[in-house]
């Protein structure tokens, strides 16, 4: 017994230590201290080949430059590139790059470095998919050509997240901890498990960063809140359960996101959800605003697709919550209310088990809220917390609470397109030939604008099947020290970490 008491005590002390980080309070007006969740710390360092910037959670790599950037409205702009074009067949991308860009070791950045970077990430990247790329090669010092295996119209979105590394100073073993780039910031110090210190790059070719020093601390949510209360951070992530609190000298910043939560409804393997009428009934019958008020304390927007508000989003996904219509659909499907209010069909009770990632309180809340609302529709619903080791398999026959949202239409493809060599999409049993064709056409399109229309057409096709039900976009919440002006934010993608500092160079301390 004593042993356990000691153990728990030690644990309290450990978490206590996290609350008193190494970072000092930055009030010098040229720097900023930002708190992120521990999961945001890049496991393999700041190497684009191992997921930095281009991994599951996409953001600007800061230390390296990219060829393109995404604009605030998520269309494409240029960083290193000065021009790009694609051949008629969509298989060759030609990109010219700007002159006079230097890596922080003084060497110039050339087309060779760009080709080297892309050939390297293609070879080694395990976190991002580069199978559509055949090879990159240089034409001259300022022009690089990408030869594709298959047409890939949204290649500019991939180019927006791949940081360019120097061929002469790239060693996969050490680059992650000692990255040399040409971006806005230089990695000054990295204390694993604690903090990352970035300093501005005086030779940066673009606008000089206003924030000269950026300190990033990695803390759990409760420790982050304590750090804010103690004035040790200038900006810290937080979530809805903390939003009701007030901290002197800080205000709450709420950033719109496409960081959505939704559930998959397997169109086979599950007796209830294999009926399209039931899937539409669930989609119609859920009151998303109530879900936002209950679980997110109001900090969220209803989600109707995986890509709300993106240029490729189709308004056809938007539906009015209508419980009567939903009940009508369930009746039409033959699921009729039984004596205890739970619907039955041929003696089978309408029952679902909704899985969610254990340890994620928002997803647990979502699942509980879903269970309540589905019960009102006459569907008996249990919830079950699972680990990611089994969640993917569970999702093949049961709804799982997912979180998605990225700055690329590729996500639509990943979720809905029939996976090569199989008869179903990757994450949930689903396949629609017509939608597949439209998405293939979108990728084969040589004009980005035109491709958006094809992505939208694919969504219209998918909306007829309702294989997923999208619930909410979770607002990203931050405590911000008064006087700190955070520059205009793009709609945040999934991941509550690096997105906020995408434009940290444009932040300002007010007067």
């Amino acid at each position: 017994m004593k042993k356990i008491t000691l153990f728990l005590l030690a644990l309290t002390l450990l978490t206590g230590c996290q609350a008193a980080p190494a970072g000092e309070a930055v009030q010098d007006r040229t720097g900023v201290t930002v708190v992120m969740p521990p999961t945001s710390e890049p496991e393999a360092g700041f190497d684009p080949a191992f997921g930095w910037g281009a991994g599951e959670h996409v953001h600007e790599p800061l230390i390296q430059s990219t060829l393109t950037v995404t604009n605030p409205d998520l269309t494409i702009g240029y960083d290193l590139a000065t021009d790009m074009s694609v051949s008629e067949d969509g298989l060759t991308w030609t990109v010219t790059i700007r002159d006079g860009v230097k890596f922080t070791d003084g060497e110039p950045l050339t087309a060779e470095d760009v080709a080297f970077t892309y050939n390297t990430v293609k070879e080694t990247s395990s976190v991002n998919d580069f199978t559509m790329l055949d090879r990159a090669e240089t034409v001259d010092g300022a022009t690089v050509v990408f030869h594709m295996r298959t047409p890939f119209s949204i290649w500019p979105y991939t180019m927006a997240v791949v940081g360019i590394v120097p061929e002469h100073a790239y060693d996969p073993a050490t680059y992650g901890t000692n990255p040399i780039g040409s971006g806005r910031y230089i990695l000054k110090q990295w204390d694993r498990g604690q903090q990352v210190i970035l300093e501005y790059n005086p030779d940066y070719y673009g606008q000089q960063p206003r924030m000269e020093k950026v300190t990033i601390l990695f803390m759990e949510e409760d420790a982050a809140f304590l750090a804010v209360q103690a004035g040790q951070a200038d900006l810290a992530y937080t979530s809805a359960p903390y939003a009701g609190q007030t901290v002197d000298g800080f205000s709450l910043l709420s950033v719109k996101s496409v960081d959505n939560r939704g559930i998959n409804l397997p169109i086979w393997n599950n007796e209830l959800t294999s009926d399209p009428l039931v899937r539409h009934a669930i989609n119609l019958g859920l009151d998303r605003q109530r879900m936002i008020d209950d679980v997110l304390n109001g900090y969220g927007t209803p989600a109707y697709s995986v890509c709300d508000g993106m240029p490729w989003y189709s308004l056809v996904n938007e539906i009015e919550h209508d419980r009567t219509k939903a009940a009508g659909l369930l009746d039409a499907a033959g699921w009729l209310a039984g004596p205890d209010g739970i619907r039955e069909k041929d003696g089978v009770r309408a029952a679902l088990t909704i899985h969610y990632a254990a340890g994620d309180s928002v997803r647990q809340g979502m699942a509980a809220e879903l269970a309540n609302q589905l019960k009102e529709l006459g569907i008996e619903t249990d919830i079950k917390g699972v680990g990611w080791d089994t969640a993917y398999t569970d999702a093949l026959s049961n709804p799982l609470v997912w979180g998605w949202g990225a700055h690329t239409p590729m996500e639509l493809y990943n979720i809905y397109h029939t996976a090569p060599g199989s008869d179903s999409a990757l994450y949930s049993p689903y396949s629609n030939e017509r939608a597949d064709e439209l998405m293939n056409a979108a990728l084969a399109c040589t004009d980005l604008e035109e491709s958006y229309a094809l992505w939208q057409a694919a969504q219209e096709e998918i909306a007829k099947d309702a294989p997923w039900v999208w619930l909410v976009n979770v607002d990203h919440l931050y405590w911000v020290r008064e006087g700190l002006a955070v520059a205009e934010q793009k709609i945040h993608p999934h991941g509550h970490g690096w997105s906020i500092v995408n434009n940290v160079d444009r932040w300002e301390w007010g007067v």
């Binding site: 409760d222 679980v295 254990a358 647990q364």
Partner: protein
Amino acid sequence: MKNRRQSTLLLLLLAGGALCAVMLAGALQPDAAADFSQKNLPPCLAHPFGTDWLGRDMLGRTLAGLSLSIRLGLLTSAVSAAAALALGTASAALGGWVDSAISWLIDLVMGVPHILLIMLISLACGRGFWGVTLGVALSHWPALARVLRGEALQLRQAPYLQMARRMGVPWGRVLTGHIVPHLLPQLWAGLILQFPHAILHEASVTFLGFGLPPEEPAIGVILSESMAYLTTGRWWLALFPGLTLAATVSLFALAGERLRLLLAPASAQE
């Protein structure tokens, strides 16, 4: 108060009764469902232990959690006591290499920190109720086994047992007729004193995320969830479940101690 024996018995019964009541109350009530209109309420008449961020009644969850803990404690204590009895007596009775092997096994299991062993076994068995049960059951027998082995070894040398052997009573009968009954007081007390260990270990391994899943109303789950909300001033989420866990564990310790006093030859006549 008539005499010490009676008051001891009374205390024992009271402790046992209280634990049974908690177990039944927790097992028979319906699951504390999420009710978002009632979320984050401090303790009040309708919810004496308050509610959490999903609006679940904490009294209900605490009772259900304690009940689960007690049932799990019962199961694991029984399994580990049985294992201890079997191994302890086998070791003493058979001697030789069997004794060496069992002693070595006891040392081995005792050499690994309990909590680590439970985590490993629980993880290997896929967590959940059975993971924790196996983890706790398979890690708690050595202490008792060692005590029983020592006792049985001593008994082996006792004159009346030597006599019985010489007169041709087979080992099996010596074991069941003489040694095991003699070990029972030790066994009962040991079994009950394993309860608090088992419960606390279940709670801590779940607290650390290697035990019961988060939708189970286990005390470890309740406590680890409450950690996230302590900084926002929701003290009731941790305080009441923690206190009741401490009370439950103390009741078991008390009951075990009383039982030992009643059964052990040295104190039974006091």
